[in-house]
């Protein structure tokens, strides 16, 4: 019997673990180690953050789902990996620390034959003074990165609405809280949901909305922007985004590294080196991501964290980390199998794998401060990569160690993105977009880097309906209800 350990139970880890359990059956063991007791459909946290959904509608308990799937579920956080075993253990193992009520802090070593690192990110609020610290979110801003954060965001948002109803003007500042953030799309969706809710509450005229982001242009979204086919043109996402911001009367600051947050005030540095500050009554700023801080040790106990993980804490995989300057970047730099180059039985997927470099062109201010989005690895690509990695490992377990690995390069993969504003069936609209491929391939698609037959975007009710369907469909799938394997990632 082989044992596969999956670290993390988010979109990527959950997809990998559940498919592996399905394909391996009871002859082999799948273990999931995640510190969370609930699964969270993160895209719908946006609706929780404006009071349109409850936390219960976007989460469910993992234990019964994993019990049904025959997965050995350990509510714990991974602390370290010993990929060579140790002096007293021949097999590789993971050291975990329980977070389960009643077993908090208890440590255990679990041996494995194969390991998938899908821990997701550490929400690095501490990277920006005032945004938070090592313990997480600070007191001056809100976040929608977790369901609990989103609940808190809504509480603060409702207070602002009440103030506006009493005639007190409010300033909203929404975007990214550091020069190296990703997930601009989540903040983008949130600001337009806030705008929608303010309209619905009849207080839009009492609100000043401002976007702040590390993108060098509106519509970069961490993927270097995109050209989408519209009305016979290949239209830049910059035009698309600027149009939407203007239409909804939302001001913007771009190319900004938020370097300090105080009560009611954010300080920032721009790409041109100038410094500025922006006052706010309500601010949702996405933190930068980092690896969760897993350590790795060799058989003799020496620290090999630098061998297994990149400096940002994400696991090294089969990417080209020596691509160098932007001019040298190629689509082929991006990983295909997500196998660790040193230990062939270790893989990483979702946010946990170390990308070879950003997708957006790296930029820095004259002061040397890097200000550019880091690459997104969430949502659809995250699920597809998780499934491909699970497929590879299952093949190796069932067919032998020489079985070929499955590939899922972000340079050969598309993504669908729906940013919805509002939740009602007929009173919301959404920006529905597809992008193909996620990582531009300028050799295959000269000019835009993407296939404009499959890269498109439009705003309307239709996208909004799709967002609703995706919410229910992916929660249904994650709960492993009948026919779940038929639903694509």
């Amino acid at each position: 019997m082989a044992r596969l350990i999956v670290l993390g139970g988010g979109v990527s880890g959950h997809t990998a673990a559940t498919f592996a359990a399905e394909w391996l059956g009871s002859a082999h063991e799948v273990v999931v180690v995640t510190p969370n007791s609930k699964w969270n459909w993160i895209p719908s946290n946006i609706w929780v953050g404006v009071g349109e959904m409850s936390k219960e509608e976007v989460t469910f308990d993992l234990a019964p789902v994993y019990a049904k799937a025959g997965i050995n579920y350990k509510q714990a956080k991974a602390v370290s990996i010993n990929p060579e075993g140790s002096e007293s253990s021949v097999k590789p193992f993971v050291t975990i620390e329980y977070t389960l009520a009643g077993r908090e802090g208890e440590s255990e070593n679990i041996e494995y034959d194969y390991l998938i690192n899908a821990t997701g990110p550490k929400l690095n609020f501490g990277a920006t003074p005032g945004l938070g610290d090592a313990n997480g979110l600070g007191e001056f801003t809100v976040s929608v990165c977790t369901a609990d954060h989103a609940v808190h965001a809504n509480e603060e948002f409702q207070k602002c609405i009440q103030k506006m109803k009493k005639g007190e003007r409010q300033k909203f500042l929404i975007g990214t809280g550091h020069g190296l953030c990703t997930c601009q799309g989540a903040a983008f969706e949130y600001i337009f949901n806030v705008e929608h809710e303010l309209n619905k509450a009849g207080v839009r005229d009492m609100a000043d909305l401002k976007w702040i982001s590390n993108e060098s242009f509106l519509g970069d979204f961490g993927v270097g922007g995109l050209h989408m086919k519209s009305m016979g043109f290949a239209v830049s996402s910059k035009i698309f985004a600027e149009s939407l911001f203007t239409e909804r009367n939302v001001d913007w600051i771009i190319g900004a590294h938020v370097n300090k947050v105080e009560k009611g005030k954010a300080h920032y540095e721009l790409l041109d080196g100038t410094m500025g500050e922006e006052e706010f009554d309500f601010s949702m700023l996405i933190p930068p991501f980092a690896g969760v801080g897993l350590k790795a040790f060799a058989k003799d106990g020496s620290d090999i964290t630098g061998t297994v993980f990149a400096p940002n804490g994400f696991m090294k995989v089969d990417a080209n980390y020596a691509a160098g300057a932007y001019e040298n970047w190629k689509a082929s730099d991006w990983p295909k199998t997500y196998q660790n180059p040193t230990y062939s039985n270790m893989f990483a997927c979702g946010i946990a794998f170390a990308p070879p470099h950003p997708i957006s062109k790296p930029m820095s201010s004259p002061n040397g401060t890097p200000i550019n989005p880091t690459p997104p690895r969430t949502g659809m690509p995250s699920g597809i990569i998780g499934k491909a990695v699970a497929h590879s490992i299952c093949d190796r377990i069932l067919k032998g160690e020489d079985a070929p690995l499955h590939e899922a390069s972000m340079a050969h993969m598309g993504a669908a993105c729906v940013a919805s504003a509002g939740k009602g069936i007929f009173d919301g609209t959404a920006a529905a977009m597809t992008i193909y491929p996620v990582v531009p391939d300028f050799e295959k698609y000269p000019g835009t880097g993407r296939d404009t037959d499959y890269t498109f975007g439009e705003i309307g009710l239709a996208g909004h309906w799709i967002k609703h369907i995706l919410h229910h469909l992916f929660l249904y799938k994650a709960k492993l209800k009948m026919g779940w394997t038929m639903i694509p990632e």
């Binding site: 009367n249 597809i384 597809t434 439009e458 705003i459 009710l461 239709a462």
Partner: protein
């Protein structure tokens, strides 16, 4: 609704070069019949992208 979006443009401000939707474009975004057609088309396009990605 009218030309409300145009009124948000500030002369020589950062949004001066923005494209804004007119009344017809805004109407289409919420026209249930048109949006049902778009719903079918977008779903087909997304399914093609999903298929190409697996």
């Amino acid at each position: 609704m009218g030309k409300k979006a145009e009124h948000n443009i500030k002369a020589y401000g950062k949004n001066f070069t923005s494209m804004t939707p007119g009344p017809f474009a805004l109407k289409l975004r919420t026209c249930k019949i048109w949006q049902f057609i778009r719903f079918v088309i977008i779903n087909i396009k997304m399914l093609i992208v999903v298929r190409k990605s697996h």
